[in-house]
């Protein structure tokens, strides 16, 4: 738990994590009712990663995300109400209902998009980081990607490119142990437990942290981002975590040990751990956190109600937004 985090910081970080959890848990419930369309991948359980990293970022900093993007969006400041409407495919959604869960983006917030293509993010963020570097505005690019995605060629190429061009870029590996039903032990037998070892071979600093420990992520990310802002080049940050739901909604999850999620929820929940540590250290009060919980609950409820009530996109939207001019 770092001195540099003020009470305000702590409460804001907790709120973000709670927003993600509440949002995802609610989407899970709504999806089960059959009211939500498409493929939906939930981020519950991994909140400390997105928030631990994004708490260091401002709107000029860019992130790119994955198919499991809701958490990154919320952490980067995308409006949760618009996100819910987007997932419902409504006109009021962040992308006017044309993108959906896998394509939420908000460039003004520095959020370059969730992405349906595994491994698409790293090159895009390399470009963002190159823009940062050329503009000399001290901004950075952060790419989030999974253990499965870490095997995609785009990711390796981008690591090398970031080293070659000394880009202000952070590679945040969310190692949740699975790519769909495939264990990371199979897909990335790097010879150790840590995929970060592979990044070190590319000539960049690489660290592995407990991704369920907000403070560990926050600290490591802070160091990497600071270095990048100062022209020190890219860093690889591996965060070990776990997703609480299936790969996507509808996944029977027979590939997981029976009590894996139950145990994690009970003993290794990033929100619970954060709360316990912060309260114990006397930095925040339990009641303050509970107040946030209530607030967020109401916010998500409002988001769902508004999304349900919102109109579908106007039919004319089918043909617009393909080109700026054509």
């Amino acid at each position: 738990m770092k001195a540099q985090l003020s009470k305000e910081d702590l409460l804001r970080a907790y709120r973000k994590m709670r927003e993600i959890r509440e949002f995802e848990d609610r989407v899970h419930v709504e999806f089960a009712k059959g009211t939500l369309p498409g493929f939906v991948h939930l981020y519950s359980g991994e909140e400390a990663v997105a928030v631990g990293v994004c708490e260091h970022l401002n709107d000029l900093d860019r992130i790119a995300s994955t198919h499991r993007g809701h958490g990154h969006c919320i952490a980067k400041g995308v409006d949760l109400v618009g996100m819910m409407a987007e997932i419902y495919g409504k006109q009021t959604g962040t992308c006017g209902g044309k993108g959906g869960s896998m394509h939420i983006a908000d460039l003004d917030k520095g959020m370059m998009g969730a992405n349906g293509i595994v491994g698409a993010g790293p090159p895009l963020v390399a470009g963002a980081a190159l823009a940062s570097k050329l503009r000399k505005d001290g901004s950075v690019g952060v790419v989030f990607f999974g253990d499965g995605a870490s095997n995609q060629g785009t990711n390796f190429e981008s690591m090398n490119l970031a080293v070659t061009l000394e880009l202000p870029m952070i590679f945040v590996l969310e190692n949740n142990g699975y790519a769909e039903s495939t264990s990371v032990k199979y897909s990335a037998k790097v010879g150790s437990e840590n995929i970060a070892d592979r990044a070190r071979g590319f000539g960049m600093p690489a660290v592995t942290v407990d991704g369920n420990d907000f403070f560990a992520v926050y600290e490591a990310a802070g160091e990497a981002i600071e270095r990048a802002r100062k022209g020190g080049g890219p860093t690889f940050l591996e965060c070990k975590t776990l997703r609480y739901y299936g790969h996507f909604e509808g996944d029977a999850q027979t590939y997981r040990p029976k009590d894996e999620v139950k145990n994690a929820r009970a003993n290794n929940c990033p929100l619970k751990r954060f709360a316990a540590a912060a309260v114990e250290a006397g930095l925040v009060e339990a009641a303050e956190l509970e107040a946030i919980d209530k607030d967020v609950l109401a916010l998500v409820e409002k988001a769902v109600k508004e999304a349900e009530a919102a109109p579908q996109p106007d039919m004319s939207a089918l043909l617009t937004d393909v080109y700026v001019s054509y």
Partner: protein
Amino acid sequence: MARKIMFKDAINEAICLEMARDESVILLGLDVAGAAGTDQERDAWGGVLGVTKGIYPKFPDRVIDTPISESAYIGAAVGASACGMRAIGELMFSDFLGVCFDQLYNQAAKFRYMFGGKAVTPVTIRTMIGAGFSAAAQHSQSPYSMFAHVPGLKSIIPSNPYDAKGLLAACIQDDDPCVFFEHKALYTMKGEVPEEHYTIPLGKANVVQEGKDVTIVALARMVQVATQAAKALAKEGIECTIIDPRTISPLDKDTIFSSVEKTGRLVVVDEDNDRCGFATDIVGMVAQDLFRSLKAAPQMVTPPFVPVPFAANLEAEYIPNAAKVQAAVRKTLE
């Protein structure tokens, strides 16, 4: 042949039969078995929509889960096939072609020609196409025209369970690189499928129904849309021939041409846009080769030139429907 099974089970059956018949047949892809590296039972997924479920237990050595590295494993399917295997590589969604296209475009497709006829690369790529699932712009495309454009590749697009089984078996047995496109909306379609092994020749269209007034050419799910349209039109006394080419490269020009020679009218229905796509391909070749037989302007019923939208209402409007096909047919009769 009373047994009815689903399209996806027909695919599964074809793979199993070929694997049983031929030891060199292997299956490579993401979670094609599932649970690799875990302590739980394998075969946990059978592919993202369960199409290959149950194959791993039968052929554990030959059903191979891979890391998310399409270039490497699709390329490995190509390479293994150039070395005596008959690999089936599963590219989960055809939308992902962009991450591994070189291994098909410049490698598999060109080996035989570049190497003076000495290479044989009997690889089969299975991959999903199609909109209608609110899967948005990166999981709903039907880019077979890009494959059909490439000399050296064959492109196969079944529209029903019977064809799916017979065509996939033919692909696996075929000595050329085949790309087999599976429309995800058809997976649960039921149809009569013989239990025994059979193949359907690549390059032979299926005449779904014959009618004297108009020739409709359609693939995959659009065959249903065309059929629906034809039913409605029949009530007005308009008789349609519906041709399902089933494979667009090779293309059964003869069947299409001889129908257009009879009807003099052509409508092509496609789920992909028309710019350098399948619809213009058919219309273009008919216009060149059968101009004198045409009684009216050939018509294309295709989506607008936009990415596939997410919102359900927009997506429904994006996909060609029977009403639009009916209108196009009527236009040829004006």
